[in-house]
């Protein structure tokens, strides 16, 4: 008996000859909150639908708790599903919606009542049982949908962009709540989203998908700090992506010659001579004072401030460090004394450990 709730083994899916998911291998351990993150059209919803059983893989095997699901229809997979548009049954009360799954299984009435109350309590909607979905706000409706999905105690909960229809404040509050509910129920959550902040905030693990395949998977922090490919660096968070002309292994550092300039950046990432690009997060670049000379970070670049954008918590600077090459730099607003004037010359410092080499 292995401890994976869901396994995808070499799963592929094509629609009318066009491949949407290609040779996907994924293992989701029991009790984990896993996000499948990617831009629209990357195959993430198709992957979810294959787990749920609404799409049949063209090749490969979907397993739930070690059992192949390929011949099992969705209604017998015992997976909960939450939709972006809530999909509540409008002709039923909240309690009837939440009790639906158990009712279809022929669970005794008294037991259904208890399960409904417990599910509504866990989404903090006790006392809403007799209302109709239309009388609820969007956030409340989504919580009813969540309660409906967890009431029959599924082995896994699949969520398809469940927060996308809510406004920003509510979305942020629901992130915390979803994570709490997941931990409290100790249930495996598979969460599909295109919103990288959402994925970062809740997940134990993020699976970044692109063009029907997994681009990278790992803990949110490690994906952010060590993006493996150009696509991941670009899609997850903001980054300066620089093309590398040549990389030379040095004694302590790799030296990366930046394409089209005389700039050489040192990186302590284990790269190789085939490295084609590298990435630097805007917040890891610091502004140096003249007095810092000789100390501090290893990479120093002089540049001219070309644009200043105030983002509230941060100030974003666009600094031209060479002809045709500008770096985006984020400076916390609390240190506004550090923010230079437009068109002034500044010195940027970049720690070699913040220069990530990327593969394509």
């Amino acid at each position: 008996m292995n401890s994976f709730d869901i396994e995808l083994v070499s799963v592929s899916k094509s629609f009318a000859g066009i491949p949407v998911v290609q040779d996907l291998n994924l293992q989701i351990p029991r009790g984990e909150f896993v996000s499948i993150l990617g831009p629209s059209g990357c195959g993430k919803t198709t992957t979810l639908n294959m787990i749920a059983g609404f799409n049949t893989p063209s090749a490969g095997d979907v397993r739930v708790r070690g059992k192949s699901q390929n011949r099992i229809p969705p209604e017998r997979r015992n997976l909960g599903l939450v939709f972006q548009n809530y999909a509540l049954f409008p002709h039923m009360t909240v309690a009837e919606n939440v009790g639906f799954g158990l009712r279809m299984r022929g669970t005794p009435k008294a037991e259904i009542g208890e399960a409904v109350d417990a599910a509504l309590r866990s989404v903090r909607l006790d006392g809403f049982g007799s209302r109709y979905p239309k009388a609820l706000s969007g956030g409340q409706q989504q919580r009813v949908a969540l309660a409906r999905a967890i009431a029959p105690r599924p082995s896994v909960l699949l969520l398809d962009e469940p927060l996308s229809n809510l406004d920003l404040k509510l979305r942020e509050a629901m992130r915390v709540e979803l994570k709490e509910i997941q931990e409290q129920l100790d249930m495996t959550f598979v969460y599909v989203t295109h919103d990288q902040e959402e994925a970062m905030a809740m997940s134990d693990r993020i699976v970044v998908m692109w063009q029907g395949a997994i681009a990278q998977q790992g803990e949110p922090g490690s994906i952010y700090r060590n993006p493996a490919t150009r696509f991941v660096a670009d899609f997850v968070g903001r980054s300066n992506i620089l093309s590398v002309r040549r990389s030379i292994p040095g004694s302590e550092y790799f030296e990366l010659c930046i394409d089209g300039t005389q700039i050489v950046l040192r990186s302590d990432c284990a790269g190789n001579s085939a490295v084609q690009s590298c990435c630097i997060r805007p917040e890891s670049i610091s502004l140096l004072n003249v007095s810092d000379a000789g100390t501090g970070p290893q990479n120093r670049l002089d540049g001219v401030v070309r644009r200043i954008v105030n983002l509230g918590a941060h100030v974003e600077l666009l600094v031209e460090v060479a002809n045709g090459l500008s770096l985006t730099v984020l400076v916390p607003s609390s240190r506004s004394s550090l923010v230079p004037e437009l068109a002034s010359t500044v010195t940027l410092g970049i720690d070699p450990q913040d220069v990530q080499v990327l593969s394509d």
């Binding site: 749920a52 609404f54 229809p73 969705p74 209604e75 017998r76 997979r77 015992n78 997976l79 909960g80 599903l81 939709f83 548009n85 999909a87 509540l88 049954f89 409008p90 002709h91 639906f100 799954g101 279809m104 299984r105 109709y132 979905p133 239309k134 009388a135 949908a145 409906r148 999905a149 029959p152 699949l158």
Partner: protein, 267 residues
């Protein structure tokens, strides 16, 4: 300027409503006239003519019409839902052709259809079904496109995610049809069934070929009566059947017709 437009707008609405309701008002007024000639705006009122409605001459055709219309509404309701289910929900092969075939009776004039049915029945030697069985069959053909169309539209507007949600909650196909699909399309189907009832109840062009002498539906009885006399009894019959139709519409509305469709059950 704006006020002038607003005035014109309400004037237009008033004219349209008058145009629709005035003939009905004339019939109502005529049915209350004390003189046996039909007059509009009589100066005295009486309800004596309504007493005649309970005579067999009117009661029998009325009961026959109600019986036929009820059976027609039931049969075309069931058939229409089944057809829409196969075509829209299951998307069986040839859906478009099947739908076109089901809607085709709309394109044939009823008189032509009536003649065709009589000729057909006599060719295959089945004149014996003339009367109630033939009336029911012919009315179903006539009403079916309306019910099918309404049911198909409701099904097409049905959010597939509701079905998927129910499925993920363990509902089998039969359970999903019973608990999700049918309740969701009920308002549309009831509207279609209401139309079927009214179409059958009011029909003249088809029925006139298919009734048996001495055993007619209400509209045919009215036509026969009109050939010899035009009097307030006539008007009273029409007013009564008008009220009956309104009552039927109201009843279906109560069960969950149009207004439920508009308000989505969040009563």
């Amino acid at each position: 300027m704006n006020r002038v437009l607003t005035c014109l707008f309400w004037l237009a609405i008033a004219l349209v409503l008058t145009f629709i309701t005035l003939p009905l008002a004339v019939v109502v007024a005529a049915s209350l006239s004390p003189s046996s000639a039909v007059t509009f705006l009589p100066w005295e009122w009486t309800t004596v003519w309504y007493g005649d409605l309970l005579a067999d001459r009117w009661l029998q055709p009325f009961l026959l019409s109600v019986k036929i219309a009820t059976v027609v509404a039931g049969i075309s309701g069931v058939l229409g839902v089944l057809a829409a289910y196969a075509v829209v929900y299951e998307r069986i092969p040839g859906s478009t052709a099947i739908m076109a075939g089901l809607l085709s009776p709309l394109s044939v004039p009823q008189i032509v259809k009536g003649v065709a049915i009589v000729l057909f029945l006599s060719i295959i030697g089945l004149q014996s079904v003339l009367g109630t069985p033939a009336l029911i069959a012919a009315h179903v053909v006539l009403a079916l496109p309306f019910v099918t169309r309404m049911a198909a539209t409701s099904l097409a507007n049905f959010d597939g995610n509701l079905d998927r949600a129910a499925q993920s909650l363990g509902a089998t196909k039969r359970q999903r049809l019973q608990h999700i699909v049918l309740p969701m399309i009920k308002p549309g189907v009831l509207s279609g069934v209401t139309f079927a009832f009214i179409i059958s109840f009011n029909n003249i062009p088809l029925s006139v070929f298919l009734v048996r002498p001495g055993d007619t539906t209400l509209p045919i009885a009215v036509i026969n009566y009109l050939e010899y006399s035009l009097d307030p009894v006539m008007a009273a019959v029409n007013v009564a059947s008008m009220i009956f139709i309104l009552a039927v519409i109201f009843l279906f509305e109560k069960i969950g017709g149009f207004s439920a469709q508009l308000h989505g059950g969040s009563k």
